[in-house]
């Protein structure tokens, strides 16, 4: 039977744009262009590689997001995914991580899956919590933050690199995995892929299609509440190390303190 892979991809504001909050303290998504989260491109790439290895596989890319989030789906389809699911509903405005995970989980169940692939974190929210929440809601194992991933004999295996050690992990399918930015550069869409993407199916769903009540999501249903938000202060002056014989040590100490080394 065919291996059904669902890749959760997020449509995020372009990080090189000028990003602001709206009056209700949600992200002002109208003011900047959006794109497929760069970290989710790695998830699409790994799904494509898994599918290339498998005899028979089908990749569905899934996003929960506004109308423009279709752009993120189209990019993933151009890279080679087979079909897409777009969950869009005005009531989603202001949904928090728990709410998003509810919607994603329902949509994944609706689509059918053997493997869910996520990015390591979104490039805007950057909580990195959704893969774990999804696994919990779906009631399947989670193998997160992999820099290498393989599917064989009904199992997913992979390597997670930590600061001090690398772990080799495995789980029975169905399962949820997330992959890091070390998993391998994502391919650029080819013209053939771009043309083919136009003909691929994009299914649009709203909350009622998934049997979700409006008050379970949105600002009202959020478990977290943003009390205030402020622009990041302008950069302050850096630290200058003057070398009087101890410069190297001071540099190393600074880097260690900042956890760079």
């Amino acid at each position: 039977m065919s291996l059904r892979i669902v890749v959760a991809v997020k449509y995020v504001p372009d990080a090189t744009g000028d990003r602001h909050f709206a009056e209700d303290l949600t992200t002002d998504r109208d003011a900047v262009d959006g794109l497929l989260s760069e970290l989710d491109e790695y998830a699409v790439e790994q799904a494509l590689q898994i599918a290339e290895e498998a005899d028979d596989a089908e990749i569905t890319v899934l996003t929960v997001g506004p109308e423009d989030a279709k752009d993120a789906l189209r990019k993933a389809l151009s890279m080679g995914a087979d079909q897409a699911v777009h969950v869009e509903d005005d009531a989603l405005h202001g949904t928090d991580a728990l709410g998003t995970s509810l919607v994603l989980a329902k949509a994944i169940e609706h689509t059918g899956y053997d493997l869910v692939v996520c990015g390591m974190a979104s490039t805007d929210g950057t909580m990195g919590v959704l893969p774990a929440m999804l696994a919990e809601r779906l009631g399947v194992p989670q193998v997160t933050l992999l820099s290498e991933v393989k599917v064989e004999d009904g199992k997913v295996t992979g390597r997670r690199d930590g600061d001090a050690a690398s772990e080799q992990l495995e789980a029975q399918l169905p399962a949820v995995v997330s992959v890091t930015d070390q998993s391998g550069e994502a391919r650029y869409p080819s013209f053939k892929g771009i043309m083919a993407a136009k003909k691929k199916k994009v299914e649009s769903l709203d909350l009622s299609d998934l049997g979700i009540e409006e008050d379970e999501v949105g600002l009202a249903g959020a478990w977290t509440k943003v009390d205030s938000a402020a622009e990041r202060p302008a950069r302050t002056a850096g630290t200058i190390v003057t070398d009087e014989g101890e410069g190297g040590k001071q540099l190393a100490a600074f880097l260690a303190e900042q956890k760079f080394i």
Partner: protein
């Protein structure tokens, strides 16, 4: 009826993809290759992986199912960042693979196109000789059919041939005199010579003013034998064939020149906004602003010119004059923009580590290769009905 100059969505997506690729993959690395006169294999491999070498060819030969317009869009975006990789693609597709696609037998297409489309192999086209460039009818290289062995025996020298000596060069299509017509004029044919054929020698790379990360070589043929079946297209039709290839190629060079001109605008606008002199950005001076406005105007006009020629080609309309106009205009304004961009950058513009210095060095060849500016003017004048 709709009259619309904007790109269809898929073409715009291709353009954006190549723009992103040039920015992320080429820009950070190309300076180093250029400085050391090295061919950027790793970048070319990535270009192959994303299908750029297969852009205008059908899927049955490993292509992307696109067209010449799509190729030109990609060339413009590459050349915005670097011309060496752009000319590698241009020569590989338009001069290397296209003659095989247009004139080859089914067998030749099946043998070569899939590997040329994937970028696994590069193709080259050898027309120019030490004693004849613009006057290509003056070809001296000869090919004699040895009927005993059913082989072509090629003798002669070709010069300035792009892509002809890389590790991944698969073939060079050469033009050679294969006979004389009744009135004594040379009849020219095209023959495919695979790399590594005995009697075919590739010289060391030239030391060039620009395009330093692209491969240009002199080739010599001394009793070089290839099977009779390596004839490309019809015997004695070589001249007509390469005129068609060069007509198309001019549109590609025009797109490439437009990209270089745009790169000059990109770099200069951001430099003019940040470089301070006399207490304000140099871009606050009208003298600089007007330079930039003119650079933008020229680039925009050049873009319209190549897109017009390319869309005529796509629609099967005559495009010879439009291709010559586009090539002439865009190459000349590329040189102008490169000179102005260097000027705006002051002393830094003369430093090799700045992209505009590379643009300056890479611009001049655009007025020479694939038909000099004089040749373009001759073609345009001829289309206007003027004869010598």
């Amino acid at each position: 009826m709709t009259i619309d100059h904007r790109l269809p969505a898929e073409y715009e997506e291709l353009r954006r993809t190549v723009e992103q690729f040039a920015h992320d993959v080429i820009a950070p690395k190309i300076g180093e290759f250029y400085e050391h006169h090295e061919f950027p294999y790793e970048i070319v491999r990535e270009m192959g992986r994303m299908g750029l070498f297969g852009l205008p060819f059908p899927e049955e030969y490993g292509g992307m199912g696109g067209d010449y317009f799509a190729l030109c869009l990609a060339l413009e975006e590459l050349a915005r960042v670097d011309s060496s990789v752009a000319i590698t693609l241009e020569a590989g597709v338009s001069l290397g693979a296209m003659p095989i696609f247009r004139f080859g037998t089914e067998e030749q297409k099946r043998e070569w196109l899939p590997r040329l489309c994937s970028g696994e192999l590069l193709g080259a086209f050898g027309l120019t000789e030490p004693d004849c460039g613009s006057d290509a009818g003056g070809t001296r290289t000869t090919a004699r059919l040895d009927e005993a062995t059913n082989e072509w025996v090629i003798n002669g020298t070709k010069c300035f041939i792009t892509n002809s000596g890389t590790d991944i060069t698969g073939l060079v299509t050469v033009t050679a005199v294969t006979g004389r017509s009744a009135d004594g004029r040379p009849e020219i044919s095209s023959i495919i010579v695979p790399s590594g054929t005995q009697g075919f020698t590739v010289a060391a790379p030239y030391s060039k003013v620009g395009w330093n990360a692209s491969d240009t070589r002199e080739l010599s043929f001394a009793d070089c034998r290839v099977p009779a079946a390596n004839l490309l297209g019809e015997i004695s039709r070589g001249y007509a064939q390469f005129l068609r290839i060069l007509d198309e190629g001019r549109i590609a060079i025009s797109a490439l020149a437009t990209g270089l001109a745009q790169g000059c605008v990109d770099e200069s606008v951001s430099y003019a906004k940040t470089r301070q002199a006399f207490g304000r950005p140099i871009g606050a001076n009208q003298a600089i602003q007007f330079k930039l406005a003119d650079m933008e105007m020229r680039t925009h006009t050049a873009r319209l010119a190549w897109r017009d020629a390319a869309s005529r080609l796509l629609h099967g309309e005559p495009f010879k004059k439009e291709a010559a106009l586009a090539k002439l205009y865009s190459s000349e304004i590329a040189v102008t923009n490169a000179r102005e961009a260097t000027q705006i950058h002051g002393g830094y513009g003369f430093m090799n580590e700045y992209p505009v210095a590379r643009f300056w060095r890479d611009s001049k060849i655009l007025e020479i290769g694939e038909g000099t500016s004089e040749v373009q003017r001759m073609l345009i004048a001829r289309e206007l009905g003027l004869t010598a």
